[in-house]
C-alpha cells in the first residue's frame, strides 16, 4: 500500500500546476533552492570559524548549544506559519480497505519529508563535520547531531498538534510568553539552564535518548490524536470555524469604496493565506533596523531611501502584488455584478494606502534614529502611497495566478514571487525612489532629496484619477484571460 501512496505523491508533485510552469520559472525556482541551500551550507561550514574568530575564548559548540533554544523556537514559529499540513488528501483513502494505522503512519511520515526538516541537515551536518575535522570526539558529535535532528522532528510533530488542537496551541503560547517575559525582565533566565542541558547532552551521548524519546512520544500523541478523530467531520477535515464577525460600519465613511474595503478586511481576517502574508508584511517594518544601524549604509543615503520604501511598504509589496488574485475564487461574480472596474481598482488603491498609513504609524519608533532617518521614512511613505501603489496595481494586471484563500502557501511551491514579470515590475519600485532621492541629493543636499522624493508621491496622489483610468484600461484588456486563468483552479 505504501508503494501506492508514494506513487500518488510523485504524481501529485509532478502534475501540480506549479511544476507545469514555463522552463524559465523552473530554472529560477531551482536557482532559488540552490541559493538558500548554498547559504545554509555555507553557514554550517563557516559557523565554527566565525564563532572561533569572534569569541576565541569560548568553545564554539558550547556557544551553539546556548543558542540552540532560540533556533528551535524560531524553527517552530516558521513552521507554524509556513508548513502545510497534509490533511485533505486522506479523504479518498477513508473508505477503501486500508488499515487505518497504515494511513495515519503514512500521513505522519509524510510530514517528515517536509522542506523544513532538511534545513537543520543543511546547517548542522557541515558544522558537525567541521567539528570532527577539528578533533572533537566522534561519538559525542554524532550523537549531538542526531539530537538536533530528533528535536527538529519533535518540532515537526508539535507543529501538527498546535495546528490541530487549540488547547495545545494556547498552552504552548502562554508558557512561551511567560518564559520570554521572565527572560526579558531578567527575573529568571530560562535560556541558561537550557543551554546547560544541551551542553550536558553533548557531553553525555547516552542522554541523546531523551530527545529521541521526546520525538517518539510526540509521534505517539499525534497518532492517537488523529486516530481518535479519523472521521470526515473531525481532525482530518478542514476545521469549520465559527464566524468572527466584527462591526465594520465605521468604515462607511470611506464612501463608495467602503463596501469593498469592508470585504477586504474580512478577506484578510478570515483566510489563512492573506493572514500569512500580513504577518510577513509586518516583518518588513524591522527592515530599517538593518540599514539604519549600519555605518556603511548611513554614508550612502540612497540606500536609506531604499530601506524606507520597505519600512512602510511591507503590506503594499507583499499583499498588493497579488491584487486581483486575492479575489480569484469569486472573480466571475465581481465581473458580472454591478461593479464598475474602476471602483474595484480604486478600492484596492485605498486598501494599499491604508496599509502604508498603518505601517507608517507603526514606524514612529524610528524617530529614535533622528529626524534625517524619519524624514526619509515620511518621504518613502508618500512615494509608496503616490506611485508605488499604482505600479503595484499595474503589475497586478499581468498577474493571473489564482490563489486558494484558505490554504497556507507551501515553502518553495509558491511561484507567485518567482513570476518574471513581477520581478521586472519590482525593479522600478525600488530603484526609482533611490534615483529620485539621489540626484537632488548629489546636486543640492539631503533635504532637497527628501523633498523631491516626497513630492513625487504627492504628484501621484494628485493624478490618481489619470493613473486609475489608464490602469483600468489594461485590466479591461486582460479581462477574459484573467477570468479564464482564475477559472482553472476553481474547477
Amino acid at each position: 500500500m505504501i508503494k501506492h501512496f508514494i506513487n500518488f505523491e510523485w504524481k501529485q508533485f509532478f502534475r501540480s500546476s506549479y511544476f507545469q510552469k514555463g522552463i524559465g520559472i523552473k530554472i529560477l525556482l531551482f536557482l532559488g533552492v540552490l541559493y538558500f541551500g548554498g547559504i545554509a551550507l555555507f553557514l554550517g561550514i563557516a559557523l565554527y570559524f566565525i564563532l572561533k574568530e569572534s569569541l576565541p575564548t569560548q568553545d564554539p559548540i558550547v556557544l551553539v548549544n546556548n543558542f540552540l533554544i532560540y533556533w528551535l523556537l524560531f524553527d517552530l514559529a516558521i513552521r507554524f506559519f509556513m508548513q502545510q499540513l497534509p490533511v485533505m488528501n486522506v479523504k479518498p483513502l477513508m473508505i477503501i480497505p486500508v488499515k487505518r494505522n497504515t494511513v495515519i503512519n503514512y500521513l505522519l511520515g509524510k510530514t517528515a519529508i517536509s522542506f523544513f526538516n532538511f534545513i537543520p541537515i543543511f546547517i548542522f551536518l557541515p558544522f558537525s563535520i567541521v567539528l570532527l575535522t577539528k578533533g572533537y570526539p566522534v561519538l559525542n558529535v554524532i550523537c549531538w547531531f542526531f539530537t538536533i535532528l530528533f528535536l527538529g522532528f519533535s518540532n515537526n510533530f508539535l507543529n501538527f498538534l498546535i495546528n490541530k488542537s487549540n488547547t495545545v496551541f494556547y498552552v504552548l503560547i502562554s508558557v512561551l510568553a511567560l518564559l520570554v517575559g521572565l527572560e526579558f525582565f531578567d527575573i529568571f533566565k530560562i535560556s541558561k539552564p537550557i543551554g546547560i542541558a544541551f551542553n550536558a547532552l553533548y557531553n553525555n551521548p547516552i542522554l541523546g535518548i531523551i530527545p529521541l524519546l521526546l520525538m517518539i512520544g510526540l509521534y505517539y500523541i499525534n497518532f492517537n490524536f488523529i486516530k481518535k478523530g479519523f472521521y470526515l467531520d473531525d481532525a482530518v477535515s478542514k476545521k469549520i470555524k465559527e464566524v468572527n464577525a466584527a462591526d465594520l460600519s465605521w468604515m462607511n465613511r470611506f464612501g463608495s469604496v467602503a463596501i469593498f474595503l469592508k470585504n477586504d478586511v474580512k478577506l484578510i481576517w478570515r483566510n489563512a493565506r492573506p493572514k500569512q502574508v500580513m504577518m510577513m508584511s509586518f516583518l518588513f517594518l524591522f527592515y530599517g533596523l538593518i540599514f539604519f544601524t549600519s555605518k556603511t549604509y548611513s554614508n550612502s543615503p540612497a540606500w536609506l531611501a531604499f530601506a524606507s520604501i520597505f519600512v512602510t511598504g511591507g503590506f503594499l509589496l507583499t499583499f498588493g502584488q497579488l491584487v486581483p488574485s486575492w479575489d480569484s475564487e469569486y472573480y466571475k461574480l465581481l465581473m458580472s455584478q454591478n461593479i464598475p472596474y474602476k471602483k474595484y481598482l480604486e478600492s484596492k488603491w485605498y486598501l494599499m494606502v491604508f496599509g502604508v498609513t498603518l505601517s507608517f504609524i507603526l514606524s514612529t519608533p524610528y524617530l529614535y534614529f533622528g529626524w534625517k532617518i524619519y524624514g526619509m521614512i515620511v518621504a518613502g511613505a508618500l512615494f509608496n502611497i503616490g506611485l508605488n501603489s499604482f505600479t503595484t496595481l499595474f503589475g497586478g494586471a499581468l498577474n493571473r495566478v489564482p490563489i486558494e484563500l484558505n490554504v497556507k502557501a507551501k515553502a518553495f511551491s509558491n511561484t507567485n514571487g518567482f513570476n518574471p514579470t513581477q520581478m521586472l515590475i519590482a525593479i522600478p519600485k525600488m530603484v526609482l525612489p533611490m534615483l529620485l532621492f539621489y540626484i537632488p541629493y548629489k546636486f543640492l543636499n539631503y533635504e532637497a532629496g527628501l523633498l523631491v522624493l516626497g513630492l513625487s508621491g504627492v504628484l501621484g496622489i494628485v493624478f490618481k484619477d489619470f493613473f486609475l483610468t489608464k490602469i483600468e484600461k489594461i485590466y479591461q484588456n486582460g479581462k477574459y484571460k484573467t477570468i479564464a486563468a482564475f477559472n482553472e483552479k476553481n474547477n
Binding site: 469549520i240 464566524v243 464577525a245 466571475k332 465581473m335 455584478q337 484558505n406
Partner: protein, 231 residues
C-alpha cells in the same frame, strides 16, 4: 430584450457555440436544455461577458455586452459557486450584493423575509461561512442573491441541481411568479426536462452548440423533448 447576432465561440478551432440569431423578448421565461457540452453555460458566460465571442455579439437591453459595462446594473446571475464569496456569511453576502445594488440592510432584511421557507432555517443566523455550507444551501444562497434588487434580467445555470425536492418545488413557483408579476426576463438552463417545461414559456434545445429546437411550451412539450433526448 436580448438579441443574439451571428454569435459563435471556438476553442482552438472547435466550435462550441454557434447561434446565428436568437431573440428573447422582455418578460419571457426562457429555458435552455441540452446534454453536457451543448453550449448552455458557454452562452450564459457570453451573455455575462465572461468569455470573449469569436464572432458576433449579444445586445442586452440595447447595450452590447462586450463593449460597455452598462448592462451590469440590471442583470444578475448565478452560474456556479464562484459567484459566492466563501469567507462571508450568507447575511454578509446578501448585504454586500444589496449594497452593490443600492439597497441598505433594512431593505435586504425585508427582502429576505419572503425566502424564509426556502432557507428552512439553515442559512440565516447560522454563524457559518458560505464555504462551509452544503452544496444545496450554497445554491439557495446564490439564487436568492441573484434576485436582489429586482434585476430585469436574471440568469440561472442549473438552478435545480443539488436542491432538495421541497426546494425544487418552491423554486419553480418562485420563478413562475417572477415572470408573471415583475416582468423580469428569466433565463435558466436545466437537465431536468420536467422542471423546465413547468417553469419556462419557451424552450430552446442546444446540441453541440447549435439550436436544434425552439418551442413555445405547451402540454405536449415534455413528450416532445423526451422523445428527442431518448436516442
Amino acid at each position: 430584450m436580448i438579441q443574439t447576432t451571428e454569435l459563435s465561440k471556438k476553442y482552438s478551432g472547435i466550435t462550441v457555440l454557434n447561434i446565428p440569431s436568437l431573440e428573447i423578448p422582455k418578460g419571457q421565461s426562457f429555458g435552455l436544455v441540452g446534454n453536457n457540452g451543448a453550449g448552455k453555460t458557454t452562452y450564459f458566460n457570453l451573455l455575462l461577458d465572461l468569455i470573449k465571442p469569436t464572432t458576433g455579439h449579444i445586445i442586452n437591453n440595447e447595450i452590447q455586452v462586450n463593449k460597455s459595462e452598462k448592462w451590469k446594473p440590471f442583470t444578475a446571475a448565478f452560474i456556479d459557486e464562484s459567484f459566492l464569496i466563501g469567507y462571508l456569511t450568507a447575511e454578509e453576502y446578501f448585504y454586500f450584493i444589496g449594497e452593490l445594488r443600492g439597497m441598505n440592510k433594512v431593505d435586504i432584511d425585508t427582502f429576505l423575509e419572503q425566502f424564509k421557507d426556502i432557507f428552512n432555517d439553515e442559512i440565516l443566523g447560522k454563524k457559518k461561512y458560505l464555504r462551509d455550507l452544503s452544496k444545496g444551501n450554497q445554491k439557495k444562497a446564490g439564487i436568492v442573491a441573484a434576485l436582489i434588487g429586482s434585476p430585469e434580467v436574471i440568469i440561472l445555470d442549473e438552478p435545480f441541481a443539488n436542491l432538495d425536492p421541497t426546494t425544487q418545488i418552491r423554486l419553480k413557483k418562485l420563478l413562475r411568479d417572477l415572470t408573471l408579476n415583475s416582468n423580469s426576463t428569466v433565463l435558466i438552463s436545466s437537465h431536468d426536462l420536467g422542471h423546465v417545461t413547468e417553469v419556462c414559456e419557451r424552450i430552446v434545445v442546444l446540441e453541440k452548440g447549435n439550436i436544434v429546437k425552439d418551442i413555445q411550451t405547451s402540454d405536449e412539450t415534455l413528450q416532445e423533448l423526451e422523445a428527442y433526448f431518448s436516442v
